[in-house]
Amino acid sequence: MTLVWVAFGALALADSRRVAREQIDRDLAFLAQSLANITSLAPDANVGVALGETLRNFQQRKSIQPMDLSDITYQVWSVDGTLIARSPDLHSPGDLGPGELPLGRSVERSGWIVAAQASQDRRIVAVVGESSPYRAKVAHAAMRKFLYPYFILALCLAVVVWVAMRYGLRPLRELAATVEGRSESDLSPCVPKRSYLELEPLVSALNGTFARIQRMLEAEREFFADAAHELRTPLAVLSAQAHVVAHESEPAARLTAVRALDEGIARAANVLQRLLLLARLDATKTAKDKIPTDIADLIGDVVTIRCATAKATGHELSSNVQGPLLLRCNSNDLRTALDCLVDNALKHTPPGSHVSITANIADREVIITVADDGPGIPPDLQERAFRRFERLGATQDGSGLGLAIVRRVTELHGGRVLLRQGPGGRGCRFEIRIPLAA
């Protein structure tokens, strides 16, 4: 806005100069004409007096700057080149007889602007010129006439705008002060001191953000509280087991105690790992680092990891995947999810049970199935099973997080996990379904 104002001011300045110049031209033309006519009509008159008379009359008309005789130079010639009269000047523009100057226009000569006009009977040529100081006065007068009020107007405008802005922005400033004045952890809805209609969208958006953050923090707090709770027993186990190791005097007994301590450490580590994994999965919205993965390979990995355990507990672990099955996914997380399902199946079924992993494509989805023929989960407990820290059944080890992890991983891949009846109506059948186009 300042630029516009400056540009406008510059234009106005140029314009005022032009106005001044035009004014000068008009004045000179008038005076020269008058002088020529007077001299022609009354050859015996004193030119100086006549000019003085003319000037006085002239001044009664409109003029930007009063003019007196010292501002003017004049020469009156007859057309045959005889000088009739001239002004007593200190700095004369030289002899400007007929023919020296074009008629009807003003030109610059030696620091004067001069104009020549012929009398009506064309016998006399009068030359009138204005001095530089006078010219400057006129220019300044024009400027003053136009520019100074303009400045004052601009100043007033600026003040008005400034006041309006301050007043208009006050609600925003108040709002900012209100928000800043709250304590760091205050996430309650913000209620400004006075409600302004214009601010309402902003305030409600702000409160919406606060509410969201509050919900997020609550969920986090709950998670940490649950996690801390879940770690208590594994840590109590380690403490007790270490005590036993320290106090067993008999070597064989101590060896048993040390093995027990190993298992205790494995359990605590497992719970911690699951917790950290879940915390990481919670923090993202979609699966990251997706690469094309062959699901058959993934299943092969899980079987390799778990086959020793399965054999030790007398389970039959089998897998069946027809050919390569490519899916863009985070292979580590998906492998972990699969491992959780297989681990669950091995833990919750009696020795001798079958656990099978299969994968296929149907309805533009990749379906990975882990099924067992164990006791299964009763329908009323099925939804609970997916809840965090929920441990169904009597098993001790395990974090209660396995299914929560499976669900979160499949969600991040845009899919879902379903629990169905196992083969023959017994046992469990978990289906991970992930759309191919995800």
Binding site: H229, T233, S239, V244, H247, G264, Q396
Partner: protein, 219 residues
Amino acid sequence: MRVMLVEDDLQLGAALNRAFELNGFESVWVRRLKEARAFMEGAAPSLIILDLGLPDGEGLTLLQFVRGQERAVPVIVVTARDSLEDCVQALNSGADDYVTKPVAVPELVARIHAVLRRSAGFATDQWVFGELSIDLTRHSVSLSGEPVPLTPTEFKLLVELARHSGRVIPRETLIALIWGATADGSNTALDYQVHGLRKKIGGQRILTVRGIGFRMADV
């Protein structure tokens, strides 16, 4: 002294059970409230370590059960729940102490001793009856400063009598406390042990209450 540990976690129960044994207690480990109640029908633990989150019910119901019994067995609640409400509720329901996991074994053992002391009305783990002094942590007994060698069973008997000093212990209760569930021939065994103990510490210290049982003599 026999501690009954009620804890469903396999690893924790096994470790605590062994830890108690290593610290000089007799320890019995059960994993369900049902088993806990069944055990208390037969034998009588000197103290119960109780976990609250049991698969077959709330651990606090066992507290009510214990309160309903004739003998008030002291109970220490050991649990993962750490909220103020849980603590206050447990103590108000009759628990003698409340500890949150994880708790170091030495601390738990010290609390067991403290609770046993309190319930027996003694200030330290050295119970003194005149010239007779029983040191519970060292499992030793001395008379007028001279150590008295006792068999483990005699020691157990003496401790139980001392714990109930001022009161009569019925024969059946004594038998349950010392040997667990009623065993055959235990009546004779009890008389035998009382006789042996009297010989070592003085017959006047153990009084027979006819038809009921025995009691420690007042000093």
